[in-house]
Structure formats: structure tokens, C-alpha cells
Amino acid sequence: MSDLKFVGKPIVRIDGKEKVSGATHFTDDLEYGSNLLYAALVESTEAHALIKHIDISEAERFPGVIAVFTGKDFPYKFGLYMKDRYIFAMDRVRFVGEQIAAVVSRDKRIAERAAKLVKVEYEALPALLDQMEALKKDATLIHPDLGDYIHVPWFFPQAKTNIAHWRKTRRGDIKKGFAEADYMLEDTYSVPRYSHCPIETHAAVGLCDLSGRLTVWASSQSPHTQRNLFAEALAPLGFTHKDIRVIAPPIGGGFGGKAGVSMEILAAAMATKLRGNPVQVIWSREREFYNTSQRLGVIAKLKIGAKKDGTFTAIDHRLYWDAGASAEYGANVVNAIGLSATGPYRFPIIFIDSVCLYTNLPPCGAYRGFGYSEFMFGLESHIDRIAAYLKLDPVAIRKKNAIKEGDILAYGVPMNPSGLHKAIDAVEKEIEWGKKVKSDDPHKAIGKGFSLIWKAPAMPPNASSAAFVKFSEDGSLNILVSGMDMGQGFLTVMAQIAAEILTVPVSKIRTENPDTDRNPYEWQTVASHVTWSCGNAVKNAAINARDQIFEVIERACVLPKEQLYLEDEKVKCKTKPDFELPLKDFVINGIQAQDGTFRGGPILGKGIFMPEFTSAYSDPETSQGGHPNVHYTVGAAAIILEVDKDTGKMHVKKAVEAIDAGKAINPDLVKGQITGGLLQGLSTVLYEDIRYDDKGKLLNPNFTDYKIPTAKDIPDEIMPIIIEVPQPDGPFGARGVGEHTMIPAAPMIANALQDALGIRIKTMPITQEKVALTYLKNKEK
């Protein structure tokens, strides 16, 4: 591992110049020709209603309208883990903003004007805007046919209820676990929905050419999964995977919102009926808020038992998730947390219920953190409170119970190697934990807050990656993969891995954006898993190319393979020091032998990676028996928070975050994830405040009233710490970190506020208003 030349170095991003010069073209920047059609949507104004009638006649007659589509044109269900949604609403609408129809024209304004002429007649049904309402015994059924839905075998939808999935994890006797405790704390924590807010909204263009071949360009994290879902949904129209191509141009942020399929299927489906014309569907910012996925809301009832010395004895964690009108992706968030809601702690006795409820609000799905930010808010707050009661230091109680390699996880599998304790120690030291800080300003108080971090990728057990590497005549490399760089630096990291194996400098390597025709398979760029999974595939492909190189040298130059090595883009031989052959001389053209004939030819490496040790099969009543998560990435973080006692205004003076990356392939990019992720996390707890009215309409679908931070809202200082306890099956020891960095933000704020002002807030967001008014009420008492 020593003497690495490219891996572990803070190399400048390979797509930096492109992005800074304006050369990067996102989906809507591409030119689709003068045949381009625009689709304007008709949306539901009701949260829950039967559609009695859709009158499209006026819209159809409007001059310049080419077509009007409704649900009956595409009566096909789709969904990633469960098929519970239609392309356009069919017999009913399930949230305000759900697409009911689309009007297509060559002129954007004509499409939009005509869309206003579509008349929809509804018969209102009771709307459930709260997961606890949806859970009630006689609640209206949002998906009456739930029992018939196709789903992955490790989901447990409850027919004739609004429960889309119920993950139960049980270990030991929970009553006994609490009987052994000296102290028990029970409380409820509530976290609302959040919006991803990528600066680029969702965009998709579908073109079904005159021969019937469908191409979709989409701002997407998951081109191959999208192709798969399109193929499944459009199979009744005669499409299979061979007939569909998905091209994924660079994306302007994803954060999970561009995973799976949401609006892209509209472009795909409509294109099939408008052969020869590209059909564009671009989401406005408003629609980006209310009709893509949101982060699930959760109400978590948590009870933890501990001994006097702080040792945890038992956890009872019941989480009720608001997954919205469709749970095809969101139910996996619920599943993931059902398996991990212990946090990175040892609990001998465990009872977890993670319940996924349908509601009449926008569908929820993957969001950076995948449920972990949501439950860690409550868990890390709760642990601080237990520490306070037991008169123990909050960091000390965490150290006592923090999980170690080999400890048995909630579902029965040993914990992977991890630097959790190293991270805790590093953060404790850097934040000067235990040292009180006072403000010079009499209006202000300063407090410190601590939190641990953990998350595992939540994927099906056969999520795989594949890679090709190919050379060019100048010795440069193209890496063909279908992972997406959504800003995290994936393209660069893959190049660094290939560079290390093949000794070609990163500056001579391109990593290509996905095209399902040309780039091999990647399940999705989610779960913070592509550095690990696709990194392994690229490493394998590079090794495969290297093997071919040594093989042809052995044949053509009569040198033993085992003695060959690569250095500075040349093949060298340990037993023949004066031998060196530059790669560029033969990686396309082959090697000429004495008799003038050539050996070899184009070097083309191939690699795949699929974890063969994971399984989703387990006891549905206890979750014991499977190996659902490949590994956990862990860390720790702390902040110094300054708060104005009168106004409630909060300012983070310093944030320290340590994350165990296994091996930071590019430390600068890992730091980028820490800085960016922390701010996104702080934003969810301090500023973002999603509001619905009592009819299920989103009141603040814009940046005017859903505030994401500006350059003026950043912490004074962020100190990133990279811990490296290698992941044995990771490329050079690497593990993913992209989502993890935002997870500790909310509990750190809650804990720091307790320290600064003595107030405990158990609901998010924790806005300055909430702090000011809570503190005021407390003072009055």
C-alpha cells in the first residue's frame, strides 16, 4: 500500500476544466433538433380523489397541439422495489401535483396554454396527510390493491392497510432487556420531509425513432436501472432492453432524487407514441419540490435502557415513516433503517419496527443518507439525555457502547473493520471536548454537541458494477462505466484507480459518461457504493488489461510474465533491466515480431464486481439470518454552536467531522464531501422547513420560502479528518462516504443547544424561531 502514486493523492478533478469553462453540457443544454416537442403537464389539485372524468377535447382542438396523453394511454405499472405507480394517474389521484395528463406541442407556450384547458372532474376521498392517521385501523386505503402488487421478496406489504412495508428486527427478550436496566428513557422524535434541491431540476428527452428504437436522455443517477424500468413498464408495447437506450449526460446534483425512475418515464412513454420527434419534459423548480421524490418523514418512538455505568442493555425503536403516495423506492429506506436503527452501538437486546406508510403527499424515495439522518436525530439526542441523567459524559457513554469490529449487528452479522473509536478520539481531541467556551457577547451562549455517524449501502444483494478500459494510440485510457459523477468526483476516482494499476497518469485518462449501449452495467449511483463497487470493477478491468499486456509481451518478447511490471507507462522486466517498452507503442498496434508479423492488438480490459456474500433472505419476523448490508462506514462529528438567546439565531463556529473512508482515494474529494455534506445536513436542521396546507398542497415550492444556505451561512471553520481502517474488499481499502457526512448535523445541533441553553428540542427543523420561543417559554417557567 505504500508508494502509491495516484491513489491517496489530492488530484485535481478530471472534469474541472470542462465545468469551469462552460463546456459541460447537461441534459437541457444538448440540442435535439428542430423537431423537438414540448410537454406541458396537467396536475391534480386534489390530495386524494377518484378521477371521474378528464375532458381533453378543448386542449386537443387547440391550434398547434399535437397530442394529449392521459393515464389510459399507458396503463402500465412501474417501480423499483415494488410496482405501485402508474405513468399518469389512472382511476385516482393520490397527491396534489400528481400528473394526470400531458399536452404536447412544438411551441412551449401553446402546450402550456392548452394544458390549462384540460378539465378534470374529481370525486374527493378522505386524504391522509399524516402517517399516524394512515396507520389507524379504519383509515381510507390509499392503495386498495396493495396485496396484488409485485415486489421484491424481502418487502412485507400488509394488504388492506396503508402499510407498504414492515421491517421487524428482533433479538432477545425486550422485557428482560429493560428489566436489566437501571435507567430507561422513552420519548418520541419527529422529523419532517425534506427536498433534495439539486440546482439542476429533473429533465428528460425521449426519442423513439422511425424504426421504433427508443432513446432517452435524462438527468439521472441510474441509467441502467432506468432502462430496466422502462423496459418493464413498456413491455406491453413490445419494448425490451435491446430496443431502449439511455444516455446520461452530466447531472447538476442528484442527492438521491435522480435515482430510480420518476418523471423520466413520461418522456420515454410519450416518445413511443410520437415517433421521429424528441419529446422534452423538464421540471420547473416548483415541480421539483412537489413531484419528484422527497425525503421520508418519520415519527420515531424510542426507548433505551442502560445500566448505571452507561452500558446499554436494550433498545426498542419504532419508526413510522411517511412515504407518500408511492413507496416503490421509499420502502427500501424504511427497510434499511429497520435493520440499522440501533445506530453504531452495542445493544444486546433489540426490538425494531420500521413501518412504511402511504400518505396522500408526494412520493418519497432515496435522499442522501437514506433514512439514517432521520433516525440518528432521535437516537443521538436520546443518548445525550441518558448520559445527562446518569451524570456521564456524552462522549464517554458513546465510547463505552460504540460498536467494534466483530460485534454482532442487529441482524446477526459481525461488524466490519472500522475506525469508529479512532474517529471518536480524533473528534474529541480536535473540538476540545470538555472545555467550556463562553461568549464575550452577553446575548449569546456557546455549546458543543457530539454525534456518531454510521450507514451501510441499502441495495439488493446482486447490485453489481462492470467496467471496460480501452487504450488509444497515445497511450491514453478511456474508462467505460455507468456510474454517475453527480459532483462527488466519481470520474476522477475511477481514473486514479486505473492510473495506479496501469501507471498511466490521471491526466491521460478519461472516464466516460454512461450510455447503456456502450458503457457496461452499473446498478445505480446511490448508496455511497460506487467508489467501492465500481472502483473494484475498474480495478479488475485495469488488472485484466495489465494481464493482457504481460501476456502479449511474454509471447512477443519471450520474457516471463511473472517478471514483468509497469512503471511510468512502460512495461519493464525485473530480470532484464534494460528492457522497456512504452505502452503507446503496442496497445493498439500490437508488437511486431522479427519476421514482420504482429502479436497482440488492441488491449481491452474488462472487470466486474458483484458481492457474492450478501443475501436479503432472513426471518421476516426477526430479520435474523441474512446478510443484507455489505458493510458500514462510520465516523464521528462535533460542533461548537453559538446561539443568540433572544433571537434564537444560531451560528456554527466550528465543525469537526471524522469519517473512516477505508482508504481515501482522493483526500481532497473526501474533504469536499465533508464540507458539502455538513452544510446540507445543517441546512435540514436549521433552515429547511417544508409546509403543507390542510389540503395537502405544498405551500413553499421555491427558494424564496424553502431556504437552502448561501455563502453567508457557512460555519466559520470546518475541520475534516480522514480515518483509514481499510475495507478488506474495497479497492485499495476504500469504502464510500458521500452520504455519511450529512448524518450527524441535526443531532449535533440539538445536543449543542442543550449544552448552550439547556433546552431540548425533539422535532425538526430547529429554526431560530423555534429556539427563541422555546427558550422564552423555558425562562418563564
Partner: protein, 290 residues
């Protein structure tokens, strides 16, 4: 999103043309200066004028002048120009302070102070400053010229007393004779750009007289005369502030909405009154940059 309705666009080079168009088309017209309000409203289909009159071609509208102790700010003067103006910096620093709280650079480079008061949103940042200065709104039509005290300008949310054949050509402020200093305190949800959820402007004079005005805590921005009556003649101390807070709560009418609750706005107005009075007085006595 596109602007769905069709309209005619005029870009006149002199005021007379503007006034003629207004006289002819009246409430079928809208005046376009910075466009940061109007263009959004047209996109949202909140307004759909038949005629848009771009007044940026009128040179006089871009002027900031200070003659014989009267400040004139033309209808097309942007917030950026106010921030950069030496006249404003020297004689009316409160206007610079307020301008820096408006949105961000890209908006301030286009948005105008006159446009801000014409929008007449309850949270208009310009309003409290103009109110404490007793500014005048200069109004012209093809038939009449008027000077309207700012206190008579705001009618109700998003409506002014401007008639449909009139335009605002600028704002005039008499530079106060007595030595004075002020400050503008406003409530936003974070340090980045935000519409004010509460705003208070205080102008303190060296003979212990005070002007106080507010925005975003009632249907229109206004002077808080009851507080002024109470404060006038007094030296600011804790007791005076506490009493002033009570009076203020009887005279502001904030609502609860997605941005802030009534309770928090009231609480914050109290804090901002307190901190604002202290700051204004401190500046008056040379503490901070007046």
C-alpha cells in the same frame, strides 16, 4: 416557464411618451424598470398587461442628486447604485445599510428603490427608511404633477395610491437639519437573502426626538407614532425601552405564515426595537458609523 400572454413593449426616450402611453392605456399598462418583480408576476400570470413601458431609456430617471439639501433618487436608480453612491454614503448612510439587506448582488444590480415601493409588499425594505425620512414620492401624469408624502403612498398590501395614468419619476428627501443617526433592523430566516419577516427603522435626532417605522408587521409599512410620542424628549434606558416595547405591541399587527409566526415576529420586533434604539443612539454619539 414562459410568459403566456402577448403584449406590446415600448421603450420611450422621453417622459412625455411615457405619460402619453399611461394616459392612453392606463391600467392595461405596467411600468418596467428593473423587472425583478414584474417579470416574475408575468411568468406566474398574476399580471398580464397589454402594454409594458420600459422606462430605462429616460436619462433623468437614473440620477441621484443632492441639491440644496434635497436628495433626489430617480425612478430607475438601482440598489447597487445607491450602495455605490458617494452622496448616499455621505449624507444618507441608512439608505446604504438598507440596500445591502435587499436580496443579493444580481438582483440589486437591476431592482430599483422606486420599484420596491411601487410593489407595495408589506415587507418592502425601502419603506421604513423612506418613512423615517418623511420622503416624498414624485408623481406625474399627462395632466398633473403631484408630490405625495410617503405616509400617503401605501394603501393596502400590494396597492398604492398611484393612479393608473400616473408614473413615479423619483423620490425626494429633505436632509434633516438636526444632527441624526439611524439604523435598520430586519428579521430574516438566515444570513443569506430573505424577504423581511419584520423590519424596524429608527432615526434618532440629537434633541432626543425619534422617528420609528416598520415593515412586514401589518398590511402596510408605517410610522409608529405612538412609540415616537412616548420616546420624544427621553433618554433611552432599559425602562424606556420596556415601555416602548409594550406600546409597539399594541400598534403592530403581524400575521403567521410560512415564513414566521405572529408570536415570533412580535418577539423579534421587541428585540429589534431594543437593539435598534441602542444602536441608533450609539451612532448618534459617534459610536459606530452613522
Amino acid at each position: 416557464m414562459s410568459i403566456l400572454h402577448d403584449f406590446e413593449y415600448y421603450n420611450p426616450r422621453n417622459i412625455e411618451e411615457v405619460l402619453q402611453l399611461r394616459a392612453e392605456y392606463r391600467d392595461k399598462t405596467r411600468i418596467l424598470a428593473g423587472g425583478t418583480d414584474l417579470v416574475v408576476q408575468m411568468k406566474d400570470n398574476i399580471v398580464a398587461p397589454d402594454v409594458v413601458i420600459d422606462i430605462k431609456g429616460i436619462e433623468a430617471f437614473h440620477e441621484i442628486t443632492f441639491d440644496e439639501n434635497i436628495l433626489f433618487i430617480g425612478a430607475c436608480v438601482t440598489f447597487s447604485e445607491l450602495i455605490e453612491s458617494e452622496i448616499i454614503q455621505r449624507y444618507f448612510p441608512l439608505i446604504k445599510e438598507m440596500s445591502l439587506t435587499v436580496a443579493s448582488m444580481g438582483i440589486r444590480n437591476r431592482a430599483t428603490m422606486v420599484g420596491n415601493i411601487c410593489s407595495a409588499v408589506p415587507s418592502a425594505d425601502s419603506a421604513p427608511i423612506l418613512l423615517v425620512y418623511d420622503a416624498d414620492v414624485i408623481v406625474r401624469s399627462a395632466s398633473e404633477d403631484r408630490i405625495l408624502p410617503i405616509t400617503e403612498w401605501f394603501a393596502c398590501p400590494k396597492k398604492t395610491t398611484l393612479k393608473s395614468d400616473e408614473i413615479v419619476t423619483g423620490i425626494a428627501i429633505h436632509f434633516p437639519e438636526r444632527r441624526h443617526a439611524g439604523c435598520y433592523e430586519r428579521l430574516g430566516r438566515y444570513s443569506g437573502e430573505d424577504l423581511a419577516q419584520a423590519g424596524i427603522c429608527i432615526l434618532a435626532f440629537d434633541d432626543n426626538q425619534y422617528h420609528v417605522a416598520c415593515c412586514a408587521v401589518g398590511p402596510i409599512p408605517k410610522r409608529l407614532y405612538h412609540i415616537e410620542e412616548f420616546l420624544n424628549g427621553k433618554v433611552i434606558d432599559q425602562n424606556v425601552i420596556q415601555e416602548a416595547k409594550k406600546i409597539m405591541l399594541n400598534n403592530i399587527f403581524p400575521i403567521s405564515d410560512v415564513r414566521a409566526s405572529k408570536e415570533y415576529r412580535e418577539h423579534m420586533m421587541g428585540i429589534m426595537l431594543q437593539r435598534g434604539l441602542k444602536k441608533a443612539v450609539s451612532r448618534l454619539h459617534g459610536g459606530e458609523n452613522a
